[in-house]
């Protein structure tokens, strides 16, 4: 049987710059194929070529036997494509979106109703048919996008980063749906920067800088590094310091924090002695663990960045008068009849990394916005650095740094001008301002981009710039709103090495995330569901709380899903 998609020497150039460097590969029907790679690797370009929205500059791509360059209409008839941001009309209702795509895809009128019923049941959207797509949560949008792409029963399904901005519950649901589809013989291509997803694919295409670095089953790649992954457990308090130290070792290729422990990947043929020494010095011990696809991915791309944060070196110890950085007491927010945040109370200690988790629409954004002063609470109080945001907003705001989800930088200004603006708006002036800007340029290696617009920056640099702008006034409390949503593992590691460094300097970090690996970096995690706080503990404790006989070593994602399920169960018991 011939492959569903055949790539032969695919080259794509934009204005002379090469985005894809001659790819060869096959994608099989009945399989879930992951398309992975760091940002800017060419994933979206390849997706668009396979959807026959673009032609390759040279080489050939055949999709279901049709050539993309010459037989686009044949491809459009058999391919379902979900672009990033799901391609939905936000001012149309769920049903109107479905009907539109049904008609576009030529679904017969008499079979359309049963098709809708089937898709609505499949995606669980049946109760929301009249709701406008713009008012759906991220997870529901994603399901609707999928339903639209599945409308005419395609042979091939292309999903471009479907899980960005979507909570673990929705991701798991989507995953199950797609799995079912591939089981029915459909070829599914799923592009993602999340490697835990890639690991569960039947085949993987790994792109880096427009080149195909690996093609095959994920465990083939993982197998290459077997015996090199370890976990350092029972560390003293400063696991962040340990990670920083470990990453600086020549024998260590990669490392991340997992709750109270640290996970490292050794370089090829390196001995574990160095790591062991470092661990013992901090009263820890190391134990071998099974390699993950992510370990292999980072290894293949040349290892993670070092653990040393120049930024943290330059930052003085954060100064804060109180031991409690962020307090919220009985925080409530109502929008009309709807209670978005219901009586939430917690405290964040100085120097803590505090994670705010929850499914889309659970109220964590609202809570987060009240904490940093973007929304006024209906009841209760929120304090930052001991100051009430209502009464001393200026004072309190000077003590917090904020990094918005989409790195809200001014695209019309250059990098240098962005730095100047953010230092100025936080009241820095004169020599101090010049020094800080100079320091940030040096720390984040921004020199060569100074006159570029942030929109033109490579993704990693954009993130660096956003962090630099948020830290210019050296705030003792840092708010991060989904800081690494859709970010590849390498950039994410660099980001967290800076955050870890800052935390060691006493900075308090408050973070919202959908990404469970990120939650592992937190000291404590608050889980919100249906506007309420349903759990608050350290990642390890949360994981332990859901451990059972059949799931002895649950992941953070397992914990997340189980906790929400039990909250649902409690709710239905109450009703009964």
């Amino acid at each position: 049987m011939s492959a569903a998609i055949e790539l032969r020497g695919v080259i794509k150039e934009f204005d002379g710059a090469r985005a894809l460097h001659g790819l060869d590969g096959d994608i099989q029907a009945g399989q879930l194929t992951g398309l992975v790679g760091p940002d800017g690797a060419g994933k979206t370009t390849l997706m668009r070529i396979m959807a026959a929205l673009m032609s390759p500059t040279s080489g050939s791509v055949r999709v279901a036997g049709h050539d993309v360059a010459t037989e686009a209409s044949g491809i459009h008839a058999v391919v379902g494509y979900m672009p990033q941001r799901f391609g939905l009309y936000e001012d149309l209702s769920v049903m109107e979106n479905l009907r539109l795509y049904a008609q576009l895809r030529g679904v017969e009128r008499n079979s359309a109703e049963s098709k809708f019923a089937e898709l609505l049941r499949f995606t669980g959207l049946a109760p929301f048919t009249a709701r406008l797509a713009g008012k759906l949560s991220g997870g529901m949008k994603q399901k609707l996008g999928l339903a639209c792409a599945l409308m005419s029963g395609p042979k091939i399904l292309l999903l471009d980063e479907p899980s960005v901005g979507v909570d673990p519950v929705s991701r798991r649901d989507l995953w199950a749906m797609v799995h079912e589809l591939s089981g029915e013989g459909m070829a599914v291509v799923w592009s993602t920067a999340y490697l835990d997803e890639a690991e569960r694919c039947q085949a993987v295409l790994l792109l880096n800088q427009g080149k195909l670095e690996f093609s095959g089953e994920p465990h083939d790649l993982t197998r290459r590094i077997s015996g090199r992954s370890f976990r350092i457990v029972d560390v003293d308090r400063d696991r962040r310091g340990l990670l920083a130290e470990a990453l600086e070792l020549p024998s260590v290729r990669d490392g991340v924090i997992q709750g109270a422990s640290v996970r490292v990947v050794l370089a090829q043929d390196a001995s574990r002695d160095q790591v062991e020494q470092v661990a013992t010095r901090r009263s820890g011990r190391i134990e071998p663990v099974a390699p993950r696809f992510e370990d292999a991915f980072v290894d293949l791309l040349g290892g993670g960045p070092g653990g040393h944060s120049v930024l943290a070196d330059k930052m003085p110890m954060a100064h804060l008068d109180t031991e409690v950085s962020v307090t919220c007491r009985n925080l409530t927010k109502r929008f009309g009849d709807f209670v978005a945040t219901d009586n939430v109370s917690f405290e964040v200690r100085k120097g803590e990394v505090f994670g705010l988790l929850g499914p889309n629409g659970a109220g964590k954004s609202t809570t987060f916005k009240m904490l940093c002063g973007l929304l006024k609470p209906t009841a209760g109080e929120a304090k930052v650095a001991g100051l009430d945001l209502r009464h001393a907003p200026g004072e309190a705001k000077l003590r917090l740094g904020y990094m918005a989800q989409k790195f809200s930088l001014y695209g019309l200004l250059s990098v240098q001008q962005n730095l100047e603006f953010f230092s100025g708006v936080y009241g820095l002036s004169g020599a101090q301002r010049r020094e800080r800007i100079e320091e940030m340029i040096e720390t984040f290696d921004l020199k060569r981009y100074l006159s570029t617009s942030p929109d033109m920056l490579p993704f990693g640099f954009k993130q660096r710039l956003a962090l630099a702008c948020a830290l210019m006034h050296r705030p003792p409390v840092l708010f991060l709103d989904e800081p690494t949503s859709g970010v590849d593992p390498i950039t994410r590691r660099e980001f967290w090495s800076h955050i870890n460094g800052l935390v060691r300097k006493g900075v308090t970090v408050m973070v919202t995330t959908h990404f469970m690996d990120e939650a592992e970096y937190c000291d404590r995690v608050a889980l919100m569901y249906r506007s309420r706080l349903i759990a608050l503990d350290s990642p390890d404790a949360l994981k332990a709380s859901v451990a059972s006989a059949e799931l002895p070593d649950p992941t953070m994602e397992d914990a997340f899903i189980r906790l929400i399920e039990s909250a649902d169960a409690a709710e239905s018991r109450k009703i009964a």
Partner: protein
């Protein structure tokens, strides 16, 4: 100056001026519009084609037609041979005015009897038709007087003097007014987009979590638009004086002061639009919906006093209405300071109301 405020002003200015293309978009199109529309917008009537149905072969009609043909507003005389043909030319808008000379025209003149001539104009083009018709009538009356020999060259009944603009040069009216309108449009667009754009791109949240207060945010948006507006208006005033040779008889400092208050009042309106709108598209359409009526009731197209009373009251709320009086007065009428201030205070009131409304709305967004 407050560092925070300065940073915001610089940021806002840079977002319009950093790259050459948007710099050009800010100054280029308005100047081009000033040039084109100043020449285009004229109520003087020129290059008129006249259809003539002449049933008279005498000396009188010959004399009349040669005078009409020589008149400066006439481009060409199109002779026709029937009323039907004449009607067709008018119907198809080939001619603006037509002249019908009856067969007894010369005979009557020669005999000293009153002669008749019929002129008709296309009422679809009412204004220019009316003007062309009055030009044509006066030519005919003059020719009639000359031909009959009686009371040759009768003295004009009234000595007309046009103050401030002796030759009623229309450009002297249109250039200062267009300058004001274009300045208003740009200032409106710049401010209306400013908050809406930040909201759409998510930088507004970033601004709201910074120590900048709502007042500072509004001032930070206001000053750059003010600077851009003042520069633009100054360039256009200079073009008016140097290029179009419009005389300036008033006080530069007073006009400059009025310009600042005028732009502030416009910026206030723009900020209110901007703080209400969620997207840039809404802001742009909002500007259109506000700007067009503002221009129409400002007295630019027609005098305010001709409007129904209710609209005259409404016109008081249009900043353009007050500023047009000042700018026309300053250019042409050497408007005394007392009159400038009489029109300046309503502008100041509008500015105060709209700007405080903008602050209130921004503050409410924060809550």
């Amino acid at each position: 100056m407050n560092t925070r405020l300065k940073a915001q002003i610089v940021k806002e200015l840079l977002s319009f001026l950093r790259d050459p293309k948007s710099r050009f978009m800010l100054i280029g199109p308005p100047l081009m519009q000033l040039l084109i529309f100043s020449f285009a917008a004229t109520l003087e009537v020129q290059n008129v084609d006249v259809a003539v149905f002449n049933e008279d072969n005498g000396r009188g009609s010959y004399e009349l037609l040669s005078q009409v043909g020589a008149a400066s507003f006439v481009d060409e005389i199109i002779p026709v041979t029937s009323t039907a043909h004449l009607a067709e030319l008018v119907n198809r808008r080939k001619v603006l005015v037509a002249l019908h000379i009856p067969a007894d025209f010369s005979r009557n003149i020669a005999a000293g009897r009153p002669a008749r001539a019929q002129v008709l104009a296309d009422g679809r083009r009412g204004n220019s038709g009316q003007i062309a018709l009055s030009y044509l009538s006066s030519v005919i009356t003059r020719v009639g007087g000359e031909a009959s020999g009686t009371g040759s060259d009768p003295a004009p009944l009234a000595a007309v003097r046009n103050w401030f603009n002796p030759n009623l040069t229309y450009m002297w009216f249109i250039v200062p007014a267009l300058g004001a309108i274009l300045t208003m449009l740009i200032a409106l667009l710049v401010t209306a987009l400013s908050i809406a754009r930040e909201r759409e791109l998510g930088t507004f949240d970033q601004l709201l979590v910074s120590p900048a207060t709502p007042l500072e945010i509004v001032i930070g948006k206001m000053v750059p638009a003010l600077i851009i507006g003042v520069v633009l208006a100054t360039v256009m005033a200079a073009a008016g004086i140097l290029l179009f040779r419009v005389p300036f008889s008033g006080s530069y400092p007073l006009l400059f002061l009025s310009l600042i208050v005028f732009i502030l009042s416009v910026v206030g309106v723009g900020l209110v639009i901007s703080s209400i709108c969620q997207t840039q598209q809404q802001a742009i359409l909002g500007v259109f919906a506000v700007a067009v009526p503002t221009i129409l009731i400002s007295g630019f197209a027609t005098p305010v006093e001709n409007m129904p009373l209710a609209l005259q009251y409404l016109a008081q709320a249009s900043p353009l209405k007050h500023y047009l009086i000042i700018v026309h007065g300053s250019f042409l009428k050497a408007l005394p300071a007392s009159e400038v201030f009489a029109n300046l205070w309503p502008l100041a009131v509008i500015a105060a109301v709209t700007l405080s409304a903008a602050v209130v709305i921004v503050r409410r967004r924060l809550q």
